[in-house]
Subunit: 332 residues, 4 copies
Amino acid sequence: MPGSHPGSDPAVTPGVTPGALPRYAFLGPAGTFTEAALRQVVSPDDAEYLPQVDVVSALEAVRIGTADYAVVPIENSVEGGVTATLDTLATGDSLVVLGEALVQVEFVLAGRAGTRLDHVERVSTHPHAWAQCRRWFNANLPAAVHVPATSTAAAAALLARTPAAADPGFDAVLVAPLSAERYGLEVLARHVADNESAVTRFVVVGRPGDLPAPTGADKTSLVVHLASNDAGALLEMLEQFAARGVNLSRIESRPIGDLLGRYSFSIDAEGHIAEERVAEALMGLHRACPYVRFLGSYPRADRAVTEVRPGTADLDFAAARDWVEAQRRRPE
Amino acid sequence: MPGSHPGSDPAVTPGVTPGALPRYAFLGPAGTFTEAALRQVVSPDDAEYLPQVDVVSALEAVRIGTADYAVVPIENSVEGGVTATLDTLATGDSLVVLGEALVQVEFVLAGRAGTRLDHVERVSTHPHAWAQCRRWFNANLPAAVHVPATSTAAAAALLARTPAAADPGFDAVLVAPLSAERYGLEVLARHVADNESAVTRFVVVGRPGDLPAPTGADKTSLVVHLASNDAGALLEMLEQFAARGVNLSRIESRPIGDLLGRYSFSIDAEGHIAEERVAEALMGLHRACPYVRFLGSYPRADRAVTEVRPGTADLDFAAARDWVEAQRRRPE
Amino acid sequence: MPGSHPGSDPAVTPGVTPGALPRYAFLGPAGTFTEAALRQVVSPDDAEYLPQVDVVSALEAVRIGTADYAVVPIENSVEGGVTATLDTLATGDSLVVLGEALVQVEFVLAGRAGTRLDHVERVSTHPHAWAQCRRWFNANLPAAVHVPATSTAAAAALLARTPAAADPGFDAVLVAPLSAERYGLEVLARHVADNESAVTRFVVVGRPGDLPAPTGADKTSLVVHLASNDAGALLEMLEQFAARGVNLSRIESRPIGDLLGRYSFSIDAEGHIAEERVAEALMGLHRACPYVRFLGSYPRADRAVTEVRPGTADLDFAAARDWVEAQRRRPE
Amino acid sequence: MPGSHPGSDPAVTPGVTPGALPRYAFLGPAGTFTEAALRQVVSPDDAEYLPQVDVVSALEAVRIGTADYAVVPIENSVEGGVTATLDTLATGDSLVVLGEALVQVEFVLAGRAGTRLDHVERVSTHPHAWAQCRRWFNANLPAAVHVPATSTAAAAALLARTPAAADPGFDAVLVAPLSAERYGLEVLARHVADNESAVTRFVVVGRPGDLPAPTGADKTSLVVHLASNDAGALLEMLEQFAARGVNLSRIESRPIGDLLGRYSFSIDAEGHIAEERVAEALMGLHRACPYVRFLGSYPRADRAVTEVRPGTADLDFAAARDWVEAQRRRPE
């Protein structure tokens, strides 16, 4: 992704001072899983990294212009924030997703040099990290108690900066391997996550105007409101996709909040708005639904090529349009 | 319809010799219900009427150029011919429907002057006419027998030209009121049709190139093949209409004939191909179905204005397209 | 079919006098294509054949009890009558279809012994038969004219009974091979039908109460009304079939006639009402549509085994019902 | 709800020792929003309250039998846990939802007696609570920093039990009004939540066997897997609801995790499994989808009566079944 990402070419990116490095806000501090995702997107040599206290702050930094891009977790995150990301993107000034990155959820238990695993009684980490390692602790350190921290990296940072003689309030931290390494901690146990195959998905967010070119392996993210929770209303919305052969890779309903019974859907569709079938489906949504927000078309992190069903390629749309035009034409 | 019909302005109609009257083939002879329909379309003062022996001949006359237009029954006809019309339009060189006309199905029993109703024993008419008056004969002339004729008007013509002293082979004819009048016959009984509210629908057919302008009260006729008789295949086809808010006023399946289990659908959709929602639905059919034939967009005879559902007017399509274009646009 | 048909076992058929042969009304006279269909259904040795003047008479004979069964054409007929059959079944006292038969559409040109083909100028036959052989006559006897008859067999019968010295009004007849044979006519030309692969479908009709057992290769015929011509209303109706994996082999819309914009659909679905997926689809139609008439479940003439999609076999329905019951159950 | 809830009648509830109070596990400690929800469900006089450290522990307590019921947040929670609740219910031994409760999200800033609002610099609370009051702090105490706690109530408890002379590590807590009251803290500011109309939804969970009686205002919760992310597969699943007129009040897709491209849907449908339209929709899902888990039918907390569309009441199902049975019946 680094090569194709608009952020890697600041000369053509709106809002980026020529000559300056592009500024990336992210869920900090240094050492978080989000930083691992950011490193996939752009090297620290080619960008200015701006850690933020939470997801909303990172996205707001782009809106107000103190950052050019933000990298935030959006799905299945161990740092929290999915809901915050989705809701912040769904309302307020428009932002668009420019790319995504996947980071494997991997935890280590780490402590100061010399810490013995069987002496660990108090473990500091973010509550979501704690939740994802419960089975390991039940089996291996059943007496351990949780000392919450604002992020996994924050716990590591606090441990690192506390004088050796002082008690930081806990004996070990539950963190990403990168965090342990970065803060010079000793790894006491590896592979402590209950589900080693879990990954967190992060998105790169920018201001509208940046639209990555289609790659054939893209996603389009949307927010769509329905007028009612009638099963027929949902079916009609989905038929806008089905009638053009567009598959969905994610759909989530969320109450709109202002009125009982009105729903907002957060949707990832397969394909790029530059493709005819996606464009026509979006047109259909725009006509049929009270509200549609386009959150961007961008390359998939897994590079899975979009399956194009027969009759739904751009050529098919062009041929169909030509055919209709030929029928419409009247002689001079 | 006469004023707006392309046939009424031969100067701009392709295939029509300037200065000459447009030539209309129709299911003859003079006095048929089809002639009554033709009179609604164009006055005999403004056109050359060319009676044909059957529906196929009338349509072929347009194909080979011996007529400019054809008027033929297409639905619920008393003269037969629905299947012949549909099948002849569905295959062979392209023809398009330019308009339609409705004629009320009204029959009279007529004979030579002085014929007594209670003496009528043999009644000549087309079999379809006989079928539509069975209940009346059962109730009023139960002993009457049917003497078939090639058309209702042909029976009237034969009676009129048979010398008074000779026996034409029947005592009375079952015909349209116009036929009785035209052939100088005496009406023995009126309102003999079992269903007085029935109407027959006729279509005006021409060569491609003539496309009537949209009026807001139009129909679009199509032939669509499906690849299978899977209920899902039919649903997918109908969703191409539903996703654009296009209603159907008629749908009929017909076996294609070449392969078991393949079906052809004859469809009338509400609206005109010049309207965006109809055009996009046709594009969808063109992409999704193995075969689509456009049989024309033309004003409805009943002038019922098309109900345009919210979000499906041309303005809605234009707004949706503009919105998608705005999302797609990348800055220079 | 003869062995399995209820008509072949009069002892257990309601309305059939024990000891007497079952009575079959059919579109006569002897020698019609309908008689050929009837012979497929039941041998003349095992049934009383009752020729009728038209389709409506044949069906009414069953309604009033003067016949036990009727055999009438229903689709693609050369004798006319599809519409009459469909409409007569769709309204009035209930009748049910008990079986079907296919007869190949095959015509011969026949005359009295010694007739020379190149002397044939006037050809008597039913108008539909004439229509189906037009191309042959155009190519081989372009000067021949049509003399209409009430049925193909009637023309043959008239020719046979006219004294040799008298002129029946025509030189030859266009009839089924069986007709020529039965009336002792000489075949002047064979294979004169324009489409040699066409078949006509006939149905065996009886009073409700006779329901053929499922064979795995069955059809279910229905009449369904929709409340509106909204594309959504048609989709909802079809989804009642699709949600249970039931395919349709025929669907035709017909205006109801009493109110503009209300439609009746004539439908053949694959499967038998004794099968769960068909029964549940019919329940869905009964709930969702203003009117549903069941016209019978009966073996297909082509014996094509119904394709049962995964999850729609009777066992799947039983398993699903058991599962729901298990979830519903409360402990004592 | 207390009167109708099975938990209120331990004599008939399986797994509940006669004479003993029913045991309710909940997300503790005392004073959480979850306890507020639990109090709506059953009075502490009629039940044993068993606080748990997290959602998974509360649900597991029911599975292993150390509690009879669990009350846990499921949607929009300020305590976290939605994902944990959904995922724990979706896999492992079956649990069913027996009821739900809504608690308004209301926060106060509280401290020891005498604390001055403008002296508050460090605020302890659960991260989700902090996230929901960001705008208030930005506007009123922009310099305040967050000190994370395992729950809002835990922060209050820690403040309450820390000797007055000692520093608990923060100056104030952000908690539910009940927490402030329970721990004897002084309210420094009220209405500090950014969205005062937000509510959290909690569910009462038990072992299968308890199925609340239908009330006419019920929900049914399900987990459904699809075989693919084809838009058609999702449409087919939703048509199982639409074909029976069942509306959905919530639908969320979640990756299944074992295989890329397979999705699990968490669904709340309107109505009760004891109602025919819901039961038939569940049967349809059971037949059409690779996996369905029934998570219970229970009264809605908002008591909104289910809108029953025409043709989908139990009487309509019974009438449809009777009609189909009448068509199926053969005479003896």
